[in-house]
Amino acid sequence: MDGATALIKTLERQGVEYIFGYSGGAAIPIFDAIVTSGTAIKLILVRHEQGAAHMADGYARASGKPGVVLVTSGPGAGNVVTGLMTAHMDSVPMIVICGQQIRQMLGFDAFQEADVFNMTMPVVKHNYMVHEVNDLPRIVNEAFHLATTGRPGPVLLDIPKDVSSAPFTGSLDAPIDLPAYTHRHSVSKTHIAAIAAAWQKAKRPLILAGHGVLIAQAAPAVRTLAEAMDTPVTTTLLGKGALPETHRLALGMLGMHGTAYANKAVVECDFLLNVGSRFDDRIIGDPAQFCPKAFKAHIDIDAAELHKMIAVDVAVRGDAKESLEALTAALQPARHTTWNKHLDGYRRQYPLQYSDNEGLTMQHLIDRVYHITGGKAVVATDVGQHQMWAAQFYKIDQPRNWLSSGGAGTMGYGFPAAIGAQFARPHEPVVAFVGDGGFQMTLYELATACINKLPLKIIVLNNHYLGMVRQWQELFYDNRESGVNLEGNPDFCKLAEAYGARGIHITGLDDADAKLREAFAITDRPVVINAEVVKTSNVFPMVPPGAPLTNMIITPPATALDKPTGST
């Protein structure tokens, strides 16, 4: 057995079902072992390494299991960096295996040699250069342990070709050896008691639930606690599904493009429990004016997130589920009828809405897809206006049904992530909402989707613009458009048909519903739905970057806005 075979066998023992990969010289021994080892792991051959990374990410978010990527050295590894960054920012477990030049050539600028170990350090939870063939099983086991425990994240293994080719004489049962790594932290009873005491006194309590809730499988604990304490719940973009968004206590997303009622709840609450969110700049606006009147508590598994953006009254380092269960045990149930009725008033006054007056909008189409799928689809998005409208109008009732690049904001993520999700959950409907900009960054993966006959629905919300940047240019840069006009896009339907997918063209309000139903009836191949939408809609509500949430703009402003100073 060689190192590559030991690697594949160890992956198999870790329960790996799929490897998303693209070959190359330095990775040939590993690709060879996929054949010679007789493994049951299925290799999904992609068309670009970035696609592989986002597929593994989508697979991980949709399944809860780490996604695995296999690429070659140099450019192969270089092309996964964006995917690593995306997974790292959103705490997604992923194992990326890279071929590398032979050891004696390292540092010699040999063919396709890149210093991947150093290049990727800032975008991984941890990485390895494997120097000893017999270390491979231990390192693989460590990589899975690191990727999936504590705050999850991507782990990269750089494996020189002479290491993967070398005879393996070690044990596949090699135990992990991570003496400096700790990931279990007992939840402080004192701190839980302090949070409970403040909550018990609160008149206007609010729960802010983030991605950490879903990672810790704490969504049922959120629901139990919210119902017991009659406390409304707002979520971050990645926290969608932490409480069913159709629940009476669900306020939807907060922040820059959050619902007006969620943002007003944040501004007015007197108690805020943040569980599993890192108080990202997209949700807090001006940190100095965030949630000013409230007692603030924060639960996070990562100590580096506590007091980072917002200094809180009580910070708990620990697992979200364990902490919420401890809180539930420490609290007496309460009713907050006045507060919830007050927020219901805001729901009626400032509902999420759109108009059909100017034609087919992205909101309309997303809303229709929500109804046609009964809200049950696994939804992947790309990045930009359509992402925010999807967050607003596609309510998520179940964890792991929402895949979106939040921290990194990676255009090109949505479509390959949906491919990964469809592999993870082959019998469930998967929808990718993408813009015409982002889709063109990774649409070459139509080949992967078609070859594997994935019944994906790729909905291109086509406004022939980079819409979010255009919106900022309209609002903050005197409507001077620069570098946002995408006129000249290819015919996405013809392109789809060229790959072997179905292409369906929606030209306006009149044919939207019938064409969507036609698309959703197709189950033997991917469908690309090219929807021509109103070109210049803007996403509201909007909190200008760096402004306090009280400065939320709910309807289009009549006058020009000042250039934002905070965040980007």
Partner: protein, 86 residues
């Protein structure tokens, strides 16, 4: 002008790349490292790293980000004001 000096000592694994990982925590903020010393004392499991930096913002955050590194076992930070240049 008053300068705040931070003396940071770390116990780390004796593994390739540890110094890079630690240095990146400072470099990404545009923070310059004034001095660094690394050695692995005999009969101890950890390498000892000593770093000094000046006037870095949010040292508490840096402390946590250093501790989060998988190869870092323990971090201690001492600070004092250097008024010798007044």
């Amino acid at each position: 002008m008053t300068t705040m000096l931070y003396a940071i000592t770390l116990e780390v694994r004796d593994a390739p790349g540890v110094l890079v990982r630690v240095a990146q925590v400072f470099a990404r903020r545009g923070c310059n490292i004034s001095s660094v010393h690394v050695e692995h004392p005999a009969e101890t499991p950890w390498s000892h790293m000593s770093i000094t930096v000046q006037n870095v913002a949010r040292i508490d955050q840096i402390h946590h980000q250093l501790e989060k590194l998988v190869d870092v076992h323990r971090v201690t930070i001492n600070h004092h004001q250097d008024t010798s240049h007044e």
